[in-house]
């Protein structure tokens, strides 16, 4: 059975006019969010996006935008408590399952 998360939340944006259809985003996306149609990349299922940012970093033409962040509740709570940006940094304590 497929794992599905909340709908209509991802901040992924693809600027079609800047896309050259090189296909790098298809190569790096871990959830098959993109497809090449008519020599341009298109988002086929935005709800599968986990905002990891791989496509943004690897797009040589800056055609993709996403609000980067960690999808980890523990990191967000620690961010709230310490007043810092949430980060995957649970290395110093035992809490949290991430990283």
């Amino acid at each position: 059975m497929k794992n599905q998360y909340l709908k209509n939340v991802s901040t992924l944006k693809l600027k079609s006019d800047q896309c050259t259809g090189c296909g790098r985003c298809l190569e790096v996306c871990p959830h098959n969010v993109f497809r090449i149609e008519a020599k341009k990349s298109v988002v086929i299922d935005k709800d599968r996006c986990m905002e990891c940012g791989a496509c943004v970093k690897n797009c040589p033409f800056n055609a993709i935008e996403v609000k980067p962040g960690v999808g980890c509740a523990y990191a967000i709570i620690m961010g709230w408590l310490t007043g810092t940006e949430p980060s995957c940094d649970c290395s110093d304590n035992s809490g949290g399952g991430c990283c």
Binding site: E27, V28, P30, V70, G71, C72, S91, C99
Partner: protein, 337 residues
């Protein structure tokens, strides 16, 4: 003028994991020595690689390194280990330690251009959130090819001429994948659990009890529901938000505890009052919901925006519910006084 040349440092490694390697991985899964399970960054060789052999890049979390080299049996290859501070590739990429800068620097430190004649490095696909492939090429001259998500597909990927299928490119999160992640979360709750038991013990001493075996297994059950059962059953539990899924299974658990202890219609005198039964219904599902919500950090498909959205509702609801539950149970103790 004198030109000094640095010596090439290559560490020979094997594709066979020793007993100690396996025990080390097992310990890390249970949170023992997990943050110090590292290998030295640098260039490693498996088999008898030459200047045409592929260069595979990974992080210096020993579990990542071991999983990769285990899959290279019968191959001659180079492994370039980046300094990711002992963190796995995907998480390190998210933090940026498995990043463009570290890769470019590490290529220079090990003098990769003297070791291989080709100009290609193969990265695990999940390293991509930290790497700008075009920038790596600009600064190092090496071309980045993203390999498969899983190390077990590396051999096939090399055989196919550095082509990864859609299947190799997709992250999965099977029952087994989820199960192996649960011990770390479970172990992480021990400290808080001991504190809670300590407080209940003190309340007993002060005469606000009695808190006993029922409270112990009711709470431990809620922890297991949140840390293990919900993650394992994840896609089969209705709904999408993790906190909701945990709450739902936790609610079933709380009902079970109450029914088992006499709140069922056929037992004439239940083992505890209605206030306590309601207290359980408010507290236990909330504990499970909180722990299940934290599994978002272990999952492979939750977005930051999504987690934030569910937390805006779940966190206040959990706090209010637990506080109400505690008040009901304490009021129940006072009435008995």
């Amino acid at each position: 003028m004198q030109i000094t040349t640095r010596e090439l440092k290559i560490i020979q490694t094997s594709t066979q994991l020793t007993f100690n390697d396996i025990v080390g991985s097992w310990k890390a899964r249970w949170g023992i020595n997990r943050m110090n399970f590292k290998v030295e960054p640098g260039l490693y060789s498996v088999g008898k690689p030459d200047n045409n052999s592929p260069v595979l890049v990974t992080g210096n979390y020993k579990m990542s390194f071991d999983i990769l080299r285990k899959e290279l049996h019968g191959l001659d290859a180079w492994i370039l280990v980046l300094d990711t501070k002992g963190i796995n590739v995907w998480c390190a990429a998210g933090k940026g330690t498995f990043g463009t800068k570290e890769l470019v620097n590490r290529i220079a430190i090990v003098q990769l251009e003297k070791v291989v004649s080709h100009k290609t490095v193969i990265l695990p696909q999940l390293g991509a959130p930290g790497i700008s492939a075009h920038e790596v090429t600009k600064f190092s001259g090496f071309k980045v090819v993203y390999g498969p998500v899983r190390a077990k597909d590396v051999k096939e990927f090399l055989k196919a001429g550095l082509e990864a299928s859609v299947e190799m490119r997709t992250v999965r999160f099977s029952v087994y994948d989820r199960l192996v992640l649960t011990p770390v979360d479970l172990v992480a709750t021990f400290k808080v659990s001991l504190m809670i038991f300590g407080i209940l013990f003190l309340l007993n001493l002060l005469g606000f009890g009695p808190f006993g075996f029922i409270d112990f297994y009711a709470y431990m059950g809620a922890v297991l529901v949140g840390c293990v059962l919900t993650p394992v059953l994840l896609p089969w539990i209705p709904g999408r938000a993790f906190a909701w899924k945990g709450w739902l299974v936790g609610f079933i658990w709380a009902l079970t505890v109450n029914v088992f202890n006499g709140w069922n219609g056929w037992t004439t005198v239940p083992l505890y009052s209605v206030l306590r039964a309601l207290g359980y219904l408010l507290i236990l599902p909330s504990v499970s919901a909180y722990l299940a919500m934290n599994f978002t950090g272990s999952s492979t498909f939750t977005s930051s925006s999504g987690v934030l959205k569910e937390m805006r509702i779940a966190v206040p609801a959990i706090i209010i519910s637990i506080c109400l539950g505690i008040v009901l149970i304490l009021v129940n103790s006072f009435i008995k006084l």
